[in-house]
Symmetry: C2
Subunit: 147 residues, 2 copies
């Protein structure tokens, strides 16, 4: 059993929930899918593979993944929530190309440390943060100057 599956089952048993074939199937599909997927995209992917799981269940299950600590929900400003596996994944932030919508992950320990400093100065204890850099990537930039 994969450790992601074990984590989910642990959360399920601790909260009097139930292991269902739908939840197992959605977890498998989620782990297989590209990062930063939306509920709709995951729904369509699974339908194409013959699944008959409903969209509401996808939403419910993705929320369950977030509650269990497997995943996190992100809002990149396009109106749809995106879900990302975060269990056993190093923390990182995002660079987003507004042209081709490519998402690059990065981590920067110096920035994290400075954030802590800012929080401390303001008497805050940080639980989470969101750092997103929006711009244009090298290849889109090249395409633009070419045209």
């Amino acid at each position: 059993m994969k450790k992601e599956e074990a984590l989910l089952k642990d959360h399920i048993s601790k909260h009097n929930l139930k292991v269902t074939k739908e939840r197992s199937a959605i977890l498998r599909a989620f782990l297989d899918s590209e990062r930063h997927i939306t509920a709709e995209e995951l729904y369509r992917n699974m339908r194409e593979d013959g699944s008959s799981i409903g969209l509401a269940t996808i939403y419910r299950t993705l929320n369950l993944f977030c509650e269990s600590g497997l995943a996190e929900q992100r809002q990149f400003g396009d109106g749809q929530a995106r879900y990302e596996l975060t269990y056993n994944v190093k923390h990182h932030d995002h660079l987003i190309c507004e042209e081709c919508h490519r998402i690059i992950e990065f981590e920067n320990q110096e920035i994290e440390a400075l954030q802590e400093k800012v929080a401390q100065k303001n008497g805050f204890k940080i639980f989470s943060h969101k750092l997103e850099l929006y711009g244009i990537c090298a290849s889109c930039s090249a395409k633009k100057t070419a045209s």
Copy 2:
């Protein structure tokens, strides 16, 4: 005439738009209101003061403010867009208390510089960024440990 009003009128005349009493009233109310206001809040504030301007017009006008460079729209993850005066206001980021929803603004030049460095390393040109620190403020923290 305030410089905010002048900026808006400049944008209006450059785009063959029209100065209306609604737009002027919304601008006045917006400048008077607390920062990070939602369209609904601004709508309710104005209604309470006897305005009969419709909600759709508030939305349209706040978008106009953003297009004119007066304001910016922000998403703090509670599902409603918030609007903030940014014209003639120094750039800053946000600390958000998840307990009392207080929003503190801060600026940190070191972090900004590091962001540029990250972008450069990845071949990106940054247009904008979003840095939000979510946590609990000192007074809420004190209340919690007291109870």
